[in-house]
C-alpha cells in the first residue's frame, strides 16, 4: 500500500477506531495501544484484502479480536486504571439525552457489561449496521438485536439514574485539552 493511501486510511479510521477501543478498554493508554496495533496489523496483512468495501469491518474486527486477546492475557477489567473522576451530579441535565455530552455518554457506556458495550458502541459510532456488528463481533444477528435492545435499556437507566440526582460518581479518563478528532 502506498504511503498516501495508508495516510488516507489512518485519517479516515483512526478516530472511530480509537473511540471504539476507548469504550472497550476504558483506559486512554490501552486504547492508544489497541488502535496502533490494529494499524500495525493492517500494515502486515491489509494488502491481502481485495474488497475495499470490507476495510471498515476488517479494521473493527481486528481491533475487537486484539482486545479479546489482550483481555485474556490481562484477565482483568481496567477499572483500577481510570485516571480521574468526574462528578456528573452537577453537570448533567434532568432528562436522558438532553444536551448529552461526550463524557457523560462514554461514562454511562463504560458502566455497561462488555457484552452490551461493544455492540452499542459500534451501533452509535460510525453508523454500523446490524449486519456489520454481527460480523465484527462474530455473533448472530438475533444476538445483536437483543444485546442492543437490552444495552439501550441499561444505558437509559444509567443516564436517568445519574440525572435523577443520586450523586453517582462516574470515573472518566483524563481528556487531553486541545485534541479533538
Amino acid at each position: 500500500m502506498k504511503a498516501e493511501a495508508f495516510q488516507g486510511l489512518v485519517d479516515t479510521w483512526y478516530d472511530p477506531l480509537y473511540r471504539f477501543a476507548l469504550s472497550l478498554t476504558r483506559n486512554g493508554d490501552d486504547a492508544l495501544d489497541l488502535t496502533q496495533h490494529t494499524f500495525a496489523r493492517w500494515a502486515e496483512k491489509g494488502d491481502r484484502l481485495r474488497d475495499e468495501s470490507k476495510v471498515k469491518s476488517w479494521l473493527f474486527t481486528v481491533l475487537y479480536r486484539e482486545f479479546l486477546d489482550s483481555r485474556k492475557i490481562k484477565q482483568r477489567e481496567v477499572q483500577g486504571e481510570l485516571e480521574t473522576t468526574l462528578d456528573l451530579h452537577h453537570s448533567t441535565p434532568n432528562r436522558v439525552a438532553e444536551h448529552l455530552d461526550a463524557k457523560t455518554a462514554m461514562a454511562a457506556l463504560w458502566e455497561l457489561n462488555h457484552d452490551f458495550r461493544a455492540p452499542l458502541t459500534l451501533f452509535y459510532l460510525e453508523n454500523h449496521s446490524y449486519k456489520e456488528i454481527a460480523e465484527v463481533l462474530s455473533i448472530p444477528i438475533g444476538t445483536v438485536m437483543s444485546r442492543i435492545a437490552r444495552g439501550k435499556d441499561q444505558l437509559r437507566s444509567k443516564l436517568m439514574r445519574t440525572n435523577s440526582g443520586t450523586g453517582q460518581v462516574i470515573p472518566m479518563p483524563q481528556l487531553k485539552e486541545g485534541h479533538h478528532g
Partner: protein, 252 residues
C-alpha cells in the same frame, strides 16, 4: 407482528436512515406506521439514538496517537509483494532451521556482523530489523517494558531528547548482546532512533554524553557516546536531517 418484536427489530434501525430500504425492517416500519403508541416510541428512540451517536462522536482523540502510527508505519511505501522473495525467504528459513538443529546451543535471535562498528550495527538494526515491541507516548512505560524484556534501559538522555515526543520501543537479543531501541519523533515528524547497547567492547572507547562523537553511516546521521556501562547510538535518517540536527539534541 406484536409490538415487542417490532421494538426489537426497530432497535437496530439506524437513526441516519441508512436502513430505510432494507427489507429486514419493512414489516416493523409498517407496524410502527399503523400503531400510534409504537410510532411515538420509535420517534423517541431515533431522537435518543441520534443524540447518543452525536455525543460519542465528539469524544476527543489524542492527535499524537495518529502521528505515531503515521511516523512508524506510513513514512515509506511498502514494496509490492512478489512470489520469489517469499520463496527465497522460505528456503533460507528452511536451511536456517536445519543448521540450528546441528548446533549444540541455541543462538541469539539476530546475528550481527562480528567486525561491524556500533554505528553499522545500529544502521543494520534500523534497516533490516525495524519493528516496535510496544507503542506508547509514555516514556516511563516504555522504559519499564524494556526492563521487563531484559533490555538495557537508557539512564540519561541528551537534553533535546528528554523533551521530544516518544512513540515506541523494542529490544533484541543479538550476537553482540542485548540492544534496546527508544523511538522518538522530532518536530519535523522524522523518526529519531536511540539504540542502547549492553557492554560491548567498543563502548569503552566512546566519549561521554557531554562530548558525543558525530558521524554519518549509510543513510543515517549519528551520535555515539557511553554512559553508565552502556553504549548509545542516536540516529536520524537522512532526508532533511543533517549532522547539525543531531548535534542540536545535545545543546541545552
Amino acid at each position: 407482528m406484536d409490538n415487542n418484536t417490532a421494538k426489537l427489530i426497530l432497535g437496530v434501525y439506524r437513526a441516519s436512515g441508512d436502513d430505510a430500504q432494507d427489507p429486514f425492517f419493512k414489516d416493523a416500519l409498517q407496524h410502527a406506521e399503523n400503531d400510534p403508541f409504537l410510532r411515538q416510541w420509535f420517534s423517541e428512540q431515533l431522537r435518543q439514538d441520534g443524540e447518543l451517536a452525536g455525543a460519542l462522536r465528539n469524544v476527543p482523540v489524542p492527535n499524537d496517537g495518529k502521528a505515531a502510527v503515521l511516523a512508524i508505519m506510513g513514512t515509506r511505501p511498502r514494496p509490492r509483494r512478489r512470489w520469489w522473495p517469499m520463496a527465497l525467504a522460505a528456503c533460507f528459513a528452511f536451511f536456517l532451521v536445519l543448521a540450528n538443529r546441528f548446533k549444540s546451543h541455541s543462538g541469539p535471535s539476530i546475528d550481527l556482523p562480528e567486525n561491524a562498528t556500533l554505528a553499522d550495527l545500529a544502521a543494520n538494526l534500523a534497516e533490516h530489523h525495524a519493528s516496535i515491541g510496544l507503542m506508547s507516548p509514555d516514556r516511563l512505560r516504555l522504559e519499564e517494558w524494556i526492563t521487563a524484556h531484559g533490555g538495557p534501559r537508557p539512564e540519561h538522555l541528551p537534553p533535546g531528547l528528554a523533551t521530544m515526543a516518544v512513540i515506541g520501543c523494542q529490544t533484541w537479543e543479538t550476537s553482540r548482546g542485548k540492544v534496546s531501541l527508544l523511538c522518538f519523533v522530532n518536530d519535523r515528524k522524522q523518526s529519531v532512533h536511540l539504540y542502547v547497547f549492553d557492554h560491548v567492547p567498543e563502548g569503552s572507547t566512546l566519549p561521554p554524553m557531554s562530548q558525543p562523537r558525530f558521524e554519518r553511516t549509510g543513510q543515517w546521521s549519528m551520535a555515539l557516546w557511553q554512559d553508565g556501562g552502556h553504549s548509545y547510538v542516536l540516529g536520524v535518517p537522512d532526508g532533511g536531517a543533517s549532522p547539525k540536527t543531531v548535534e542540536s539534541y545535545f545543546s541545552t
